[in-house]
Amino acid sequence: MKYRFVFILTLCLALMPELFGQAKKPTLIVVPSDPWCTENGYMTLHKDQGADNYVAEYEQAVKTNSDLMNVIIKVQELMSERGFPVKDLGQSIKSIKQGAARDMMTVSRTSGSSLAETPREKLLQTAKADIIIEVYWKVNSTGPKNSVTYSIVGKDPYTEKQVGGAQGTGDPSFSSEVPVLVEEAVIEKMDNFLSQLQAHFDDMAENGREVVVEVKLFDNGSGLTFEEEYNGEELTDIIDDWMAKNTVKGRYNLSDAGETRLKFEQVRIPLYRPNGSAMDTRQFVNQLRKFLQGQPYSLTSKIYTNGLGSAELVIGEK
């Protein structure tokens, strides 16, 4: 009995790092950049209450442009070789459509009820990833010579920051075909791009994941504002102090503080929770929710997650 206990304990300890030792891995997706979509006729202009709104037609682009497909496949292949597979844009678009059709046809047998979905959840049903890799290329011709200008940029959609990039124009060539020049450009620029991405991940390991946290109020007639005082301290300052205590090295920036909303940017959250499991923005904000639920605040709040790196806490009710 004693030996069995020791054996199980040893096994549990051996598996601990496998269970809890890894930070949440960001998802990546490769998309054509907006300038590429515009130059190749995959940008549509929509009028939104008189304002021009340009929307990139990714679905049409991946279905009809073989050059784009080749570039995306090559970038995906090179990322997979480095052990970091990325989401496929075409497949993501297909999955969203199939999921929407499946949801529409799903009804309960007892009452015939359809699936519940809030307008906000509907809005978020788009192809999304934690890092978006944008690719652009253009063929330059000077007499019989061709060269390719190529750029690859990784962007964090939550912090709106560039996490890696490489750009350049290759050596002009008489003999090489254009698809070969494009392929060479993709391969040549990839290592410099990955080296910057590596630096971004190294920084994340040292200083925590950079996320955005917004705190808002439900307009439920309670009259609560962020200027409400508890023991002489305004709610804004109470939340600000909580952030200072719970972020890595106290790094965050209260960029917007009003009566009814607070926006924290450059918030560095730890990669792991105190129990060793991986942390994401939702869990980080959940700690703030529990703190505000306690005495003397007794505030009920609701969390909205917008991905691995962004979450909102709305105070007032569920």
Binding site: Q22, K25, G83, I187, D191, N192, S195, A199
Partner: protein, 156 residues
């Protein structure tokens, strides 16, 4: 007793020098051509008073790809060091001393392009250059597996 300690110290220093790499001064630049996927084609020039073997040229090419990076203004090539920076070498001195030692594992990742070797005499030294193909993808994978170079997946 003191004499024995001194002899032991000298022996240890000598033994350590056998395993430590001592690469000569070299320059590395892009060869202006793109190799097969997963490889770099570089031009290495070694300046030394003694004979420069093919082995030294290959070791310098691998070392340069890992810790120096290379560029070529004429062909608009520019690659950063594959290992991130020279700091990666300093943080694992024992591993890289053995890796770049005579007959060490670094030679497995480089091939000299036939008939590319050129020799030029400058003062009392010789400048020897050659075009080397470095299998950088396999090199990086093996160093990541050995835990001496970080990979994209290191923290996830």
């Amino acid at each position: 007793m003191k004499r024995l300690t001194l002899v032991l110290f000298i022996l240890l220093q000598w033994a350590a020098s056998l395993y430590s790499h001592d690469l000569p001064d070299y320059e590395i630049k892009g060869a202006g051509v793109t190799g097969a996927q997963g490889t770099y084609v570089v031009n290495v020039t070694v300046t030394a008073g003694k004979k420069t073997t093919d082995q030294i040229l290959k070791q310098c090419a691998v070392h340069g790809v890992l810790f120096k990076g290379f560029s070529n203004i004429a062909t608009r090539q520019s690659q950063k060091p594959l290992a991130g920076s020279a700091a990666a070498e300093a943080s694992h001195p024992e591993f890289f001393d053995s890796f770049f030692s005579e007959g060490g594992a670094s030679l497995n990742y480089a091939d000299e392009v036939p008939n590319s070797r050129k020799t030029m005499k400058v003062d009392k030294k010789k400048k020897v250059s050659a075009t080397i193909v470095v299998n950088k993808e396999q090199l990086l994978k093996d160093l990541q597996a050995a835990g001496v170079v970080k990979g994209l997946n290191s923290i996830f």
